[in-house]
């Protein structure tokens, strides 16, 4: 009887340690890195891209190359169980990794629902369903609270927003982009709602024409942004510039990266839209 007990204990312990044996994961994109760390996988991440900077612990991990040119040699050498990345520019590398029989998960969410699905997929692969549930519940709660606040406000009273991704050429995030949905969820109206591409060059004249109430810059700007915008020809009369509602103080990474911090991003955007 004692023997059976002993053996079953060892067996259970073995299962337990097996279930939590160190896995080896590599993330090739800042957004997937954030997701992995948010799921508590910090010990199992063995390699990240050079742009993966959040959480700070990510910077201590082995560097496998930059975002569009990950270094395959390094990846192979680290013997990953799974590689997480985004689709787009990494396509040739991805097909080569697959050819070398390395497991790859591609996540490329263009809206919040896709992002949640990605998180669930990643959780399934890494056996972190519990953590994922908690994470998503937390994000959802934050989003729901904002939704409740803006529900009563009719659409045409919501502030018009222009997202400036870059200044030269003037680039914005339009229909179909992740940030576009964040703006809507935060209670704003993206003036670039009719662009043909998610990220496209936008006419400065059209900005003047559509007269946004707020402008949000997703890049770091040291000078007072409203002053800089004011110097652009014809922009002095734009409502956002006149009322000093040009914001460059949101950490771009919480609104540009489709990751766990978007709920925070929505909160920050909402704060500024509804001062």
């Amino acid at each position: 009887m004692r023997k059976i007990l002993l053996i079953s204990c060892v067996f259970v312990l073995g299962l337990f340690s097996f279930a939590h044996a160190k896995a080896r994961y590599i993330s090739l994109a800042p957004s997937t890195t954030e997701i992995l760390f948010a799921l508590g996988l910090n010990e199992d991440v063995v390699g990240v891209s050079s742009y993966c900077d959040y959480p700070p612990e990510a910077k201590t991990k082995e560097n496998v190359g930059d975002f569009s040119r990950p270094n395959i040699e390094k990846i192979i050498y680290l013997k990953p169980d799974y590689v997480f990345c985004t689709g787009l520019e990494q396509a040739p590398v991805i097909s080569e990794l697959k050819r070398l029989k390395i497991n790859v998960y591609v996540s490329d969410p263009s809206n919040i629902d896709d992002l949640i699905k990605s998180i669930n997929d990643i959780a399934k692969i890494t056996s972190r369903d519990k953590e994922a549930k908690l994470l998503i519940a937390d994000m959802q709660a934050k989003i729901n609270s904002i939704t409740a606040k803006i529900n009563a406000i009719p659409l045409n009273k919501r502030p018009k927003v222009f997202i400036e991704i870059w200044h030269d050429p003037l680039t914005t995030a339009g229909k179909g982009s992740f940030i576009d949905e964040l703006i809507t969820v935060s209670g704003g109206r993206n003036i670039a709602f009719d662009t043909k591409r998610p990220y496209s060059i936008f006419s400065p004249e059209e900005v003047i024409n559509r007269n946004p109430d707020c402008i949000i810059l997703t890049y770091m700007e040291k000078e007072k942004p409203a002053k800089l915008m004011g110097e652009r020809f014809g922009w002095g009369n734009v409502s956002a510039v006149k009322n000093d509602r040009v914001y460059a103080d949101i950490d771009p990474n919480i609104i540009v990266r489709p990751g766990p911090r978007i709920a925070e991003g929505i909160e920050e955007i909402h704060k500024r839209l509804y001062k």
């Binding site: 050079s50 560097n63 496998v64 190359g65 930059d66 569009s68 040119r69 270094n71 395959i72 040699e73 390094k74 192979i76 050498y77 013997k79 787009l88 520019e89 396509a91 040739p92 097909s95 080569e96 050819r99 070398l100 043909k196 591409r197 998610p198 990220y199 060059i201």
Partner: protein
Amino acid sequence: MKKKVIILIFLLLFAGALGIVIGSVKIPLKELFLEQNRSIVIMRILRVLTAAISGAGLAVAGIALQAILRNPLAEPYLLGTSSGAGLGAVIAITLGVSSLYMPAAAFIGAILSIILVYNLARNNNKVPEHSLILSGVIVSVALSAIIVFLISMSANEALHGMTWWLWGNIQVFNPKLILAVAILVTLGIAVIYIFCQDLNAISIGEEEATHLGINVERVKKIMIIMASLITAGLVCICGIIGFVGLIVPHMMRLVVGPNHKTLIPATCISAAIFMILCDIISRVIFPPLEIPIGVITAVLGAPTFIILLKRRQKIG
């Protein structure tokens, strides 16, 4: 002369070995042949081969064009190959063709643009050098403009990955593709070498060459076709790698002289060595980041050439 060639061959083998042993990942020599590192070693071997054939191909194509155009600034991308290939690739991506067919699309684009350049420059059956150079430049600029237009209009994010085209890429994943291009390049180099005597005579002057019994127009056509095939083949797998096709021929002329019989083989080998070394540097300078090889060839090539030139000026 034979001694110089033997030294070059040794250097080539040494460079090749170095390229396999050194990489962005530090693997100690004894671990190199372990089963687990096999994929890495194969990747490196493919890289070394790609670097060698692209170096040799571009340099010899450069020699051929410099000889028949009698212009020291002639280089392989002169005839519009690079923008033609880029346009072929961009059109393919825009039409949603699978990335499997990218190299084929780029190759077709390159060939079509060369045909366009050639026919624009043609005057009856003759091709005057200045017309060829001019039409090459014009077609390049026009096609580049179309590429930019298509990229700005398109909704396809994959086009952003096209930057690797501009500065070259030596990591080609498909060994069958490398083999196909290697065969093409070797054939091209062989044909150009067969005409080494003709190229010598044409270097002296077109009329002088005719008086030596050489059918200059025919040789020009064949050289243009060969140089174009080599360049088109290399562009569609490696993108644009500048400097090699322009400067390595000049460097080797300073070392072995302008006689194409020795110039062509010597340039083949030295360009291969040069590319392999540049590739090694691009991988080990800031690992795991890979500096695009076009940057290394320029940064390394320019001072080397200047040193050689200054030394020659002191002697001669």
